[in-house]
Assembly symmetry: C2
Homo-oligomer: 718 residues x 2
């Protein structure tokens, strides 16, 4: 193609002045609904119908080719069968049309032949300098400029701040329905299909620049272009636009095969999870939470702090909210003394002043209790957003809404509040035109339907607000990999190409770690029993002995490891046993035995880096022993990892209490440990793309004494 | 009161022929709406208004007292202020009214004075032989017999199979709203208030006998009468009526104080969780899941097996369903070969036959693909219910519903299916009258709105179906505590009353365990260093030595424990050190030192029983070491616990893999272990109500060798 797919380039696709429906036919329901949508949104006079036989279609005259339109057209909406698509593209290009939206299925999703057809389609579009959305999708709708180019019926006529992207065409209609139910008004709806040319990342990038879009909801089954997605997500974070992703595939059990244990910890989905966390992409687990979270994020924007202050007239609702906040880790901070004082002054004597706040039935007599409570809670220094729980109607019963006075009182509180306030309905019910009337009268701009939904949305927004705060101020949360490798303090001489192959011996790995400033337990490579005994005597106390061989990856499996050996005789005997055992394994070159002082007590960790084919090097930390073996307790992050991030990873382990010192172990020096973990990541980055995996297992921690006891380095080339 | 609150007695409350509104007033919104509800439901001519001054109210004449009504009345709905309630009760009783529903707040929920007023209220009602619902609630509605006795507006006019109970009046209106949204048609709605006389358990009991009610949704903040609740829940299980509870308080951090470690594991909420599981009560965490699960359970009834077969036209929906099933542990079984064969015959070549099944776009061309796929999947031997994912409309766009043909094809599949089939809408949207029209045309009786909701509801129903299957066939899942104490094989001489006090010494505890058939590590109580050495020599190998004293509960805290002592001299020295250390603690009588062989390797568990004030003795099992100390990994159950149940508890531990043998430990004999755990529970039951706690910590397990290494027994009396 002539140029990259920039937001500027996509503007003519997503904001077309005119559209050609290629393959328009009365027999096609797709054609009929797409045309009807364009007409209903006032686009009739800028829509051209192209029908091969020139037959009147949808009650309008047609042309037989794009070239015959005679007016400039921005988008060709291709409803022709796969066999005719290439010719139709040529026809459109000849007419000066630079964008095609291709509906047909049977491409990349349909086996070998389909993939070949898709490659041909892309090559053809590129040769014509055309941008292509699809194939195998259901178009898009630009609600801001009222341009629906999609056969999905029942499109909303309101527009709003949420963009909806979906890789699933079949589910996008349901998502649109729910956006309507939840009152998440849309700026754009884009079905992505096979993303043969325009990928999710490109559309994200376009939306970052779109002034109408404040948040983006996206349903993904796979991330097709990780680099573009990553760059767009970073731009979105910097622009303060949350991305809320429903990413399918969390149940996938496929784990990456790798030489090191780390491989088993790093599944595709866990890597995506870690990458999304790194990028500030919110991950949800239902269509409902995706759209409610995106709608709430678009309305509220960034929260100054994560605390949620709750004001409700139902004690039951308070309890449910508090329980779900506890489940999800959302913060309901205790009120500050000044807040308590202010609330004490307005609450009835039988009420209890705490967060969540039950304003009690006294608010039925005096609804301004709501107003005043909202004002007080919004001023609390620990509260980032006030959630006011009440009800709203969704159908009129023919009488004036009896609860209007309460909605009004809450609306008044919102006007006077010191910070953001959001209305929460106790249950998930539709935000209908009638609901909006009640809200408009009360000057309530937004409502979250449902208690659980509210906790999910506000917790997600609070997390995003913190996770991307630095991105906005211009300091990226994490430096780019390229930048990190050149950071001072860890200059590493990357081994020459001939050495970057296979699995390295422990001796080689130890040397590399040491050079990179990663502490390694002392060790002497002995080449005789006598030398081993001498080394052990030098260390004093029991020693660990391990075979040195470039051919043995799992030393203990072949009898190549002895731990806790004490005394000259025992050490000498162990030397002989180890070397004999290893020599008995065919093809094993035995170079000697590594003797190290035995470390006991303290805590053992695994720190490893493996390469993800999509996302590059990923670091894993895990607690050794039962935690990792029985519970798979580990934490991941893409590289680079700063010491601060490394510490957060360590603290996120389920068994983190072990590092804080339980059962008689001294507390680990977490700052020092985080520093070492970050350095392992930096080293892996510095070693470049040939590195397959780098794993320290165990990394022994006892207070501030941190030492790698064993390490494995493997390279991609055999 | 004259008699117990039986279902028969409650019939005149919940199915009243006539109602008196006592304290009717035009000034009261409660009065106006309650009256309006009765009129709207056709109850006007059986509603009497009682107004102290006899003023015309709600456009109708009134009487000044119940006695003046002159017709038999079943229920007095009391809207009078607290001060007038006792007199109003007397008046109602004098008129022969046997049931009162009391709205007023300011009773048990309002401090000391309120509690006194509530006690007086109950005593007065009892003296009048009246049954009293409330106080501090919002009445009830019997939708089956169209008798709403409640000031809640907007009541549904359809009736159905779900009863809704709520301790929260303020949230019950929202719950009613959502029942409407979700299409969970109600038989009854009962607000419970303070449950001064009629408690949740009584109402449950009434509903078990109600032929119209097939499932019960209940919002609880506390279980006020555990014995009645428990009995009613057991009857509901036996009657095949699921109870779906949203119980607030899961975030409560209060843990019971107890002499033993077990106390820290057994919080109020974890106990409720264990009790509900034991009773087959489904627990959910949102109002939405409560009503959707109850509605689904009421329509589908018991599932023959837990497997869910999924049929969908959206691959995205399939992915989301599979992910949520994985999260929640719901089963999506692989299809049997015959099912695969049947589906292969109807699916297009590019489709993939597995569960969840994406019928592909081919179903758009030929909707009978849905019909045939449903038939095939419903016949699969692993499938207990088929979930068909599609869409339904909730608002008409003025055109005939374009998806009717698909709904019809699904309805056809339901008619022909070999087992239960449920329609699932992709998102949570209201089931409106229009939705019901579409469903009726397609002969679809029920729909679950939302993918996540569907997985939650079907997983809950599957769990309930299994958990209560035996209850129906007449074999209670667990015997009653009374029955269990007399079970053969564990006859225990309960210590006499004078001995049932304080904390027992290890020696006494060991004797009791041994008598009860619980294996205990061998031990000799030595009273001299020489005797200790002799004992150790007799056991051979290293020994564990522990002080014997009735005054020391935590022996290691005072230097009273030595582990791994080897050799005559060392044992003798340890004897002296232990006795000296213990003697130095003031008030400690030292009776000697217990010498036992040291057990190492294998796995250590904690098995304990503590008494819950509400629910009686609760058994906890936990894995020793980091699992319980760092992760709080434990499982609870009320007693008695059968060996089958004990095994399920062990298997439910997060670290259960340790028992299956990892890291070189031999697999535990789980049947033998479960037998010992069950016996600990039986012993605790047999010891009766004076027992405070009984704890074995650790219980050492190595293969089929199971031994209590230490035990503590404490009694409620000091």
């Amino acid at each position: 193609m002539a140029g990259p797919i920039t937001p500027q380039r996509l503007a003519s696709l997503f904001r077309p002045r005119s559209v050609a429906l290629v393959g328009a036919s009365d027999k096609s329901n797709f054609s009929a609904v797409t045309y009807r949508n364009l007409v209903e949104f006032g686009h009739a006079d800028r829509t051209y119908l192209v029908n091969r036989r020139g037959a009147e279609t949808h009650g309008r005259p047609t042309v037989t080719s794009c070239a015959a339109i005679g007016e400039p057209v921005d988008v060709a909406f291709m409803m022709v069968p796969q066999a005719g698509t290439l010719d139709a593209l040529s026809d459109a290009a000849a007419a000066g049309i630079r964008n095609a939206v291709v509906l047909s299925a049977g491409y990349g999703e349909a086996g070998e032949a389909g993939r070949a057809a898709q490659a041909e389609l892309v090559a053809h579009a590129e040769s014509l300098d055309m941008v292509l959305l699809g194939p195998n999708q259901l178009g898009f709708a630009n609600f801001v400029h009222r341009t629906p180019v999609t056969p999905i019926p029942g499109l909303p006529h309101e527009s709003g701040p949420v963009a909806l992207l979906s890789q699933s065409g079949a589910s996008s209609s349901a998502m649109l329905d729910f956006a309507g139910v939840a009152g998440a008004d849309l700026s754009y709806m884009v079905t992505l299909g096979n993303e043969a040319m325009v990928t999710a990342g490109h559309v994200l990038d376009y939306l970052v620049d779109d002034e109408h879009t404040r948040a983006i909801a996206i349903f993904l089954e796979t991330v097709r272009d990780p680099a573009v997605f990553r760059a767009a997500a970073r731009r979105a974070a910097a622009a303060g636009k949350p991305i809320v992703a429903l990413k399918a595939g969390s149940s996938e059990l496929a784990a990456r095969t790798a030489a090191a244990h780390t491989g088993a910890l790093v599944g595709d989905d866990r890597t995506v999870d870690a990458v999304f966390r790194d990028l500030g992409v919110i991950r949800v687990d239902s269509i409902e939470d995706m759209l409610i979270t995106a709608g709430t994020a678009a309305r509220l924007g960034r929260l100054a702090r994560p605390g949620i202050g709750v004001v409700s007239i139902s004690g039951g609702a308070c309890d449910i909210l508090a329980d779900r906040a506890d489940d999800l880790g959302a913060e309901l901070p205790a009120f500050a003394p000044a807040t308590v004082q202010a609330l004490d002054a307005i609450m009835p004597s039988y009420g209890t002043v705490h967060n969540p706040l039950d304003v009690t039935g006294a608010a039925i007599i005096d609804p301004t209790l709501f107003t005043r409570a909202i004002e007080a809670v919004s001023a609390d220094p620990g509260v980032g957003v006030v959630a006011v729980v009440n009800s709203l109607p969704w159908m009129s019963d023919g009488r004036p809404y009896s609860g209007q006075v309460f909605a009004d009182a809450i609306g008044d509180g919102m006007q006077n509040a010191a910070g953001p306030v959001v209305y929460v309905n106790q249950v998930l019910q539709p935000i209908t035109a009638y609901t909006r009337e009640v809200m408009a009268r009360a000057r309530v701009p937004h409502v979250i339907p449902g208690l659980r939904q509210a906790v999910v949305a506000l917790h997600n927004l609070a997390w995003w607000s913190d996770a991307t705060r630095d991105a906005v101020s211009g300091t990226p949360q994490a430096a780019t990999p390229q930048a990190a490798t050149s950071q001072p303090g860890t200059p590493v001489a990357v081994p020459e190409a001939s050495a970057r192959r296979g699995a390295w011996s422990e001796t080689a790995a130890r040397a590399l770690l040491t050079e990179a400033g990663i502490p390694v337990v002392p060790g002497e490579a002995a080449t005789s029993a006598r030398q081993a005994a001498k080394a052990a005597a030098g260390f004093g106390g029991p020693v660990a002995m391990k075979v040195v061989s470039p051919d043995v990856l799992h030393k203990s499996d072949i009898g190549g490891v002895r731990l806790g050996v004490t005394g000259d005789e025992a050490v000498a005997a162990a030397y002989d046993e180890i070397t004999t055992a290893a020599s008995n394994v065919p093809g094993t070159r035995v170079e000697g035995v590594l003797v190290s002082p035995l470390r006991s007590g303290g805590t053992e960790l695994l720190v490893g880096v493996v390469r993800d084919p999509d996302w590059g090097p990923v670091l894993a930390v895990a607690l050794g022993g039962v935690f990792v073996e029985v519970l798979g307790d580990s934490a991941l992050s893409p590289l680079p990892v700063s010491p601060v991030r490394a510490r957060a990873l360590l603290e996120s382990l389920r068994g983190a209490a072990l590092l804080h010192g339980v059962r008689g172990t001294p507390p680990a020096d977490l700052d020092a440990l985080a520093e070492v973990v970050a350095r392992v990541g930096d080293l892996a980055l510095a070693l470049g793309d040939d590195l397959e995996s780098l794993e320290i297992n165990p990394l022994h921690v006892s207070g501030s004494t941190i030492e790698a006891l064993d390490a494995v380095i493997t390279w991609r080339n055999a």
